[in-house]
C-alpha cells in the first residue's frame, strides 16, 4: 500500500517543509500520494503535483478548510486512510496539532518527530529533548508518523506532473471557530530553513538590545532565533524560540549570543553544523557544544563582530 503525505501550505504556496517531509516518506515507500486540504489552494496543489516524488495529489476544498482547523481536517484524512499503510506530515505546529487526532480516530499509536527511517515500520526519534534517541517499531497495521523536517533534505520541487484528483470535503466540525492569525512578516530567511541563525538569550537584557542581533543577522543574511528565557522576558516574539518546545534548527552556522545553553535550548540547535557561542560566563554549558567559543561581553563583542564582517568583502548572501 502507499503512503499518504499531508501537505502543509498557506492556500497559495506549499510550506517549504513539505519538501523535507516528502523526502522522508519516499524512504518508507516509493508510492507517495499527497493530500492538500484548504480553500482556493489550486496553486499550492499544482506546486505539490510538480514534486517528482509525488505520484498523486488529492485536493480537498471547502471554505471551512481555509484556516487549517484540525477538527475539520481530521475526518478528511481518516476517510482517505483506508487506502494507505502510512499517514505522515511534518512535526511542526500544524502536524503536531493535527496528526494525533487522526491517529486516535484510526486507533493507532502515533510515532512523533522521526529523524530517520530505518524500515517501513521502524524509525529513529529523539526523546528527552534529544538527550537520547529511541529506535521504535510500530506494531499497528496503519502507521501515523510526524517527521522532523530538518532531519531530511528537501526533495526536488520541479519536474514532476502527478495527476490532481479532487475529493469531496467532509463536513464542518462546528465547535471550533477560527478568529485570527497574527503572523510576523519578515524579509529574512525563515528560521527553520535559514543557512545562518543568530540567536539571543537572557544575556541580551532587553528587547531593545536585540537590535544588536538584528544588525548581525542582516549582515549575515541570517534568521533570528532566541532562547525561551528571552521570549518569556518579552524581548522577542514566540515564533523565534529555538528549543525542545520551540523550533528545531540545523543551520550551517548557529551563533548563540548571551545564551547559557540549558538542555532545552540545546535540543533545538545542537545538530547545527558550526556553532559559535558568545557569553561572558566561561562556564556556561553552551560552550560544551560550541565549535568556537568566545568568552566576552556581548555588548562589546557584537559591534566588533559587525566591524570585522565589514572588513571582509566576500560575505555570501
Amino acid at each position: 500500500m502507499s503512503v499518504l503525505l499531508i501537505a502543509e501550505h498557506n492556500n497559495k504556496e506549499l510550506k517549504p517543509f513539505t519538501l523535507n517531509a516528502a523526502t522522508a516518506v519516499s524512504q518508507i515507500d516509493k508510492d507517495v500520494h499527497a493530500v492538500i486540504i484548504g480553500q482556493n489552494c489550486g496553486d499550492a496543489a499544482k506546486a505539490l503535483s510538480e514534486l517528482p516524488l509525488i505520484k498523486k495529489v488529492i485536493q480537498v476544498e471547502a471554505p471551512y478548510y481555509e484556516n487549517f482547523v484540525a477538527e475539520n481536517f481530521s475526518p478528511v484524512v481518516v476517510k482517505l486512510a483506508e487506502n494507505y499503510s502510512h499517514i505522515a506530515c511534518s512535526a511542526n505546529t500544524f502536524g503536531k496539532n493535527l496528526m494525533p487526532r487522526i491517529a486516535a480516530a484510526l486507533d493507532t499509536s502515533q510515532i512523533s518527530d522521526i529523524t530517520k527511517v530505518i524500515s517501513a515500520d521502524t524509525f529513529l526519534r529523539p526523546i528527552y529533548a534529544g538527550n537520547a534517541f529511541a529506535t521504535v517499531k510500530s506494531k499497528d497495521p496503519k502507521k501515523c508518523i510526524t517527521i522532523r523536517p530538518t532531519s531530511f533534505d528537501p526533495c526536488e520541487s520541479s519536474g514532476g506532473s502527478a495527476p490532481i484528483e479532487k475529493a469531496e470535503p467532509s463536513g464542518e466540525f462546528g465547535q471550533t471557530k477560527f478568529i485570527k492569525r497574527e503572523e510576523i512578516k519578515s524579509d529574512r530567511p525563515e528560521l527553520g530553513t535559514a543557512r545562518v541563525v543568530v540567536s539571543g538569550g537572557r544575556g541580551m537584557q532587553s528587547g531593545d538590545n536585540f537590535k544588536l542581533i538584528t544588525s548581525l543577522a542582516d549582515k549575515l543574511n541570517a534568521a533570528i532565533g532566541a532562547s525561551r528565557a528571552a521570549v518569556d522576558a518579552g524581548y522577542i516574539s514566540n515564533d523565534h524560540q529555538v528549543g525542545q518546545t520551540g523550533k528545531v534548527v540545523v543551520p550551517d552556522l548557529y551563533i548563540a549570543v548571551g545564551i547559557s545553553g540549558a538542555i532545552q535550548h540545546l535540543a533545538g540547535m545542537k545538530e547545527s553544523k558550526v556553532i559559535v557561542a558568545i557569553n561572558k560566563d566561561g562556564e556556561a554549558p553552551i560552550f560544551s557544544v560550541a565549535d568556537y567559543g568566545l568568552e566576552a561581553d556581548l555588548f562589546e563583542a557584537l559591534p566588533q563582530f559587525l566591524e570585522e564582517l565589514n572588513k571582509l568583502n566576500t560575505i555570501q548572501k
Partner: protein, 249 residues
C-alpha cells in the same frame, strides 16, 4: 464549571539524562522526579479560573505508577480540590493514556480538560489531541492565553508563524504552553492542607481499556557527541576561523 487537569510524573527538567548501558532506556533509579513542566501551567490556569469565580471545582488526575500520587498531591497543594490516580504499571503510550482519561471524563463529566502541550520525557505531544478526538470535543493546543467567556473559551495559540486565536465551545480540551502563566509555589500550610484532600485510586485494569503498547522500543542510545570545540581569544580570531577554517561566512 468543572475542570479536570491531567498531570504527568517525569524526570525533573534539570536532571542530566543518562542512557542505560544495556540500551533499554534511560536511568530512572535515584533520579529526581517532578511534574511535567507545562502540566504545572495547566494546573495554575485551572486554579486561576476557579479563583476568578468561573469554575467550581478543579480535579487533578494522573495516570501511572503508585508514585504518581506525589504528582497529584503537588497539584492539590497549589489549589486543586481533589485528585484521581489511575494506577497502571509499565509503558503507557499517549493513545492508552488518552483512552484512560476518556473513561475518567465520562465518569467525572468535566466541562474542560487541561494538560501540558507535551511531556518532556517522551516528547510525544499527542495526549490532548487524542483525548479530544476520542471525545469528539474541540481542541486548543499550545495555549498561551485563555479567556473564559460563558460557554466558550477564547484561546491564543502559539504556532510556528506567530499567534493564532480561536474560539472553542465547552466542553473542550486545552493543552498549555509554558508561557500561559507563572505557576505558583506551594506554601507550607497549603502542602499540609493538601495532605487531607482526597485522592481516589482507580486501577487502569478496571476501566476496560487495553493499554498494551503498540510500539516496541528496540533500542535507546546516546545522541552522537559533538567534537570538542575551541575557545577563541578575540572577535577577529573568531571571524578568521569562521571564514578560513569552517568556511561558513
Amino acid at each position: 464549571m468543572k475542570i479536570l487537569v491531567a498531570v504527568k510524573r517525569v524526570i525533573d527538567y534539570n536532571v542530566q539524562i543518562r542512557v542505560k548501558e544495556d540500551n533499554t532506556g534511560v536511568v530512572t533509579e535515584n533520579v529526581k522526579m517532578s511534574t511535567n513542566p507545562p502540566d504545572d501551567n495547566a494546573i495554575e490556569e485551572a486554579v486561576k479560573i476557579k479563583e476568578a469565580g468561573k469554575a467550581t471545582e478543579v480535579i487533578a488526575v494522573s495516570v501511572g505508577e503508585e508514585k504518581a500520587q506525589e504528582t497529584v498531591r503537588k497539584a492539590l497543594a497549589v489549589g486543586a480540590d481533589r485528585g484521581i490516580l489511575v494506577k497502571a504499571d509499565g509503558v503507557l503510550e499517549p493513545l492508552a493514556v488518552s483512552k484512560l482519561l476518556q473513561k475518567i471524563v465520562e465518569k467525572e463529566k468535566p466541562d474542560l480538560v487541561f494538560m501540558g502541550k507535551q511531556a518532556i520525557d517522551d516528547d510525544c505531544n499527542q495526549t490532548g489531541q487524542m483525548l479530544s478526538a476520542l471525545l469528539n470535543w474541540p481542541q486548543a493546543t499550545f495555549a498561551s492565553k485563555i479567556e473564559v467567556k460563558d460557554k466558550l473559551l477564547e484561546v491564543t495559540r502559539e504556532i510556528d508563524e506567530g499567534l493564532e486565536t480561536i474560539e472553542i465551545n465547552v466542553p473542550a480540551i486545552v493543552t498549555c504552553d509554558l508561557r500561559l502563566n507563572e505557576p505558583r509555589y506551594a506554601s507550607l500550610p497549603n502542602i499540609m492542607k493538601a495532605k487531607k484532600k482526597p485522592i481516589e485510586q482507580i486501577n487502569a485494569s478496571d476501566l476496560g481499556v487495553d493499554t498494551s503498547p503498540r510500539i516496541e522500543q528496540t533500542k535507546v542510545e546516546e545522541p552522537p557527541k559533538r567534537k570538542a570545540g575551541i575557545k577563541v581569544s578575540s572577535v577577529a580570531e573568531l571571524v578568521q576561523k569562521l571564514k578560513n577554517e569552517a568556511k561558513v561566512i
